[in-house]
Symmetry: D2
């Protein structure tokens, strides 16, 4: 069942799904359980309480939906809106494009930005690639629905769409006329009241995995997790600069600490870089999608990851760049990144 064995560890640097900590893999290594016994609700209760912390909300209501990020999007939209409602969306990349496409197919209209701070619109945020990795403050920023997926910065397998709704969003869900059953928050809320929590069968393994993932995040400290992502993001960008390549993101304020899209010179096909990284160095990089297919490759640097893993990846990218004919100076990106990291990496608190 391992079609493509290569010696040593796969270096997983796609922007999701990401590396799972051994502790989480262990926690999920188990038989099924009766989800109607007292054990699973007791576990679920702790998860619903603790998952709010990664959204930085105390007043939000979380839903752990057995789905992907795409499903989490659909849950956010169909629970708060009625067909024909207007949405103002920001088009800032492939996944916003896909979300806008979903909005249209679900019969919402995309309108223009409305002036005025006091507009009663709901504020929905796709945090799939940011929550648990970047500074995110649902309550403070007045967000009504925020969502993420388990396979991103939480470093779990795919399978839980985590959606968090403000009181205003919950209220909207009582009157929203979009047709929905599987994604309906009200079914969850009914079972929350009963204390059994689940309108249908959850994945026992993912619940224990989520418990372990949250425990690790809290042990490291959410702010330290975010600082680590900032550090790895900056190190990556310094390497890209040292290689003489451009970040696909044009403004510094838009830089992402979870993924870096690197623009390759016109004579190089970025897909060849991704293919070769995997075929020769057991390194998994992300393809450029849609308009930037062939023009960029992506380095995902989110989730359960540390400095030396990233430096191994950067060393690999350098070799692939050389492989495909780009005149990179081997070691240059690693040197730039490690100069920064050697200054900024803290000691591991549990080991001091």
């Amino acid at each position: 069942m391992d079609y493509v064995y290569g010696p040593g560890r796969n270096h997983l640097f796609v922007p999701g799904p990401v590396n799972i900590p051994e502790q989480v893999i262990r926690a999920m290594n188990r038989n099924n359980e009766d989800y109607r016994s007292p054990a699973v609700p007791a576990l679920t209760k702790t998860l619903l309480e603790d998952v709010k912390k990664i959204f930085k909300t105390t007043s939000g209501t979380p839903f752990l939906i057995p789905t992907t990020g795409t499903g989490a999007w659909e849950s956010a939209l169909t629970n708060t809106l009625s067909p024909g409602d207007r949405i103002v969306s920001f088009l800032i990349g492939q996944f916003s494009l896909l979300w806008i496409d979903q909005q249209q197919r679900l019969n919402f209209f995309n309108g223009k930005k409305v002036n005025g701070d006091r507009h009663p619109a709901l504020f929905l945020v796709d945090g799939v690639s940011s929550i648990c990795a970047l500074d995110f403050r649902m309550d403070e920023w007045g967000i009504d629905v925020a969502l993420t997926g388990s396979q991103k910065a939480l470093s779990l397998p795919t399978g839980i769409g985590i959606v968090c709704a403000s009181a205003k969003a919950l209220k909207a869900s009582k009157t929203a006329k979009s047709v929905r059953v599987f994604f309906d928050w009200n079914d969850y809320l009914k079972f929350y009241k009963l204390g059994t929590y689940w309108p249908y069968t959850p994945s026992i393994q993912l619940l224990y995995g989520l418990r372990a993932a949250l425990d690790l995040i809290f042990e490291e400290g959410l702010d330290d997790v975010i600082a680590r992502h900032a550090r790895l993001g900056q190190a990556t960008r310094l390497a890209v600069q040292a290689w003489g390549l451009k970040n696909c993101t044009q403004k510094e304020e838009w830089y992402s600490d979870t993924v870096t899209a690197v623009v390759v010179p016109p004579n190089i096909d970025s897909s060849e870089i991704v293919r070769r990284a995997w075929k020769r160095y057991n390194l998994s990089l992300g393809l450029g999608l849609n308009k930037v297919a062939g023009k960029v490759f992506r380095i995902g640097h989110l989730g359960h990851l540390n400095e030396l893993q990233l430096l191994g990846c950067l060393a690999g990218v350098e070799m692939v760049l050389k492989d495909v004919g780009y005149p990179v100076k081997l070691g240059s990106g690693v040197a730039a990144a490690s100069a920064y990291l050697q200054n900024s990496t803290p000691f591991i608190p549990s080991r001091i």
Copy 2:
């Protein structure tokens, strides 16, 4: 993270989620992978081909949707029907009740049975509790959509809704007007054509788990799997009879080889049986749901299970019955079941 530790193994006899084979737990014990690398499509291709065998279809098109049985239902309905369409449903228990409820909430109407063999209606079958356990022949029986969930007879964790569509159902999906995105078959079909298979991120672990689960089913032989379920179902019913209790299923032709609902005498609360089984004997039984709450308990006997596991369960049920005051003769159910099993259990082929 184990709130309710009890010595020895949990005896899991709810009708889902069911016991996972060690081989499948092992196959899922892994890090994430890039689902856009050549490995995952290669694996997926084998799954899509092989999963058709458990439906006994060669012409159907399967979808492995990251969802639960409830989501698989929704996928079956929204891809084939338009709002206002009429459905004739059979109300034969709690889950048919829930499906009918879903149908109504999705704006389909429930009508009466229509006479005539040649009606052009689509034939949709909820096989969540039967596929891979009971004789099921999608092609031969002219079924248009059949579906199951990974946590049932396939003996996986929850997380894949497996839906199989006939050519007629696929054709219907081209014109069905139900609003859908996450569950839209057409998104899958687009990626099937591309050979990348996934419109959004699948669970890497469940894909490898499904591979292992199918391998085990084919190694045992699907017909032998079905025969095993028939044997365990019959053994359970013989035990119930020996205890002097009634099967909730009133006609023999309706007996299920995957679950037996046992009616308790009026002076006994069946919930107390379920609670006590878990609290004293580490035995997980199913509650009676809805109208039969308190009146029946359920013994699930599906999935990765053998004779002695069932006999251990039956011995446990006897003790619990005695615990709650029912005058059962200890050993009577086990005797009846094992008399049957000692006659009918085949040798394990790989060990002869």
Copy 3:
């Protein structure tokens, strides 16, 4: 890699190696680690402290030797004795026979019992099949060396021979002239003093597994673990009696709560029972060894095991007995055992 797949769970009732709790399997599911980092000594320190509790000693010194029970024996002997020393041994079964054989091959002499309470002899106890399952009190009983193996009542994989030495035994090890290096306690003691604990590389996985196993034993309570073994042992003996068969152990005071050897009628080959149990019912029983080969089969009932697991086994034994022509009344043993268990099994404390 699964040569002999059979559906459902293997029913493991040999007297070792025994069933491993899922919690322990999980704890061992990990990569290697540097055993010279601070983490492994910190873990080891807790193990050495806590393992003393299963011997009921506060003054003993434990050794966690990467070996089997046979190696633990050799460690006990060679560290305390010099060639030519005399040992008084009790011959009470196959493993005492093997230990006596080892004693002779190691150049110790087997002598007769010496009168007098005050003899300065060391008191060595092979507790491989009893420690953690039966009442055992090293300090109170004045035992000088006690030992067990990880794959027995501790319910781990094979691989740690656990030896505990009294102060008197340690003193003897300073002058014992038996040639030894791998098994030499003094090498361990040297590293104990250094705080690094290991004279050579331990199994990282077994150390974490032992931690989890001890945690489970302490959570259940060692006295409750022992009571559970007494309960399962008695239930097994009642079943044997109900079948009309004899316990190979002739005096009640010698009955073992960890294994029951069942004598079969002269016309039946007990090996055929063991073979058939495995081939037809996925039940693993123990063969009769040496003089009782073909005459007895053994039911191991030690380690991580509960009432319904045992009843499943007993139901299986009944069917096999019938298979081989013994006129057993099906259900009789299960009835006798469950009558006793239904009276004596406590509620699981964590679930009340």
Copy 4:
């Protein structure tokens, strides 16, 4: 149970125990089994046959002893020699020192090298750090006993001492008078004849793990495994050179492709490098032992490892060197190593 959690993966570069492939971890993730059932001997038979390939012997007899490398040494000596026999040993590092110490404690004498090609002496080789990593040819080189440990290049947990004996060595074992029981080959040979293979209980998990480990080695190809070790060794040495540091191994012909001991300048304590690597970068390096304690640190580069893992380690070493005040040019070692690796690393055959 994780005392010292740090984010991301531990970078394990001690010269053993080494990184375990996920495939092997999976294979070991299992319950115990009856080792007297037909399954375990069938598995063992394949292991004994296949393990000979890593020794490059067809005529040797292998023993899979539940012990460590130290135990494997003891097995090699006590089965072939009698007390008072003379051994000529080569003192070439800490582990040869320990083996010589063991030889003396086991009452063999260390003598001088004897001239003459035709001396009847047995030729014993400690291959713990080389077999499966370096070119090793037992038959061709006329070796009588070769041995390794599971936790080295085989990339398993500690727990199997693998010893392979020539016909001449086996013959010697018939008359060798060293006292031994646990390590006695003759006990194994007796059970080999019976076809049950095990004189005492093996670790079920390690047997399945060894099967998986051998399968991976054969899939990669033993010669390619050796070439990979040569490549990683050379890359490491080039990095050390680029850092301006010295290899502790003075002659090029003595360079090891499994470990590189790096001499630090007199003003730096190499232990501080090892401590800091672990505390700050989650990097596990080996300490200098005995005479070179504080003067060298060791980079283990054996077992399941690839180019980018090594480059991550080298980047980490550079940062630690800078941390402790050594004026390293960051990126210099990585540049030297990757210049070499970019030229020499083959494509992964299964992915071409």
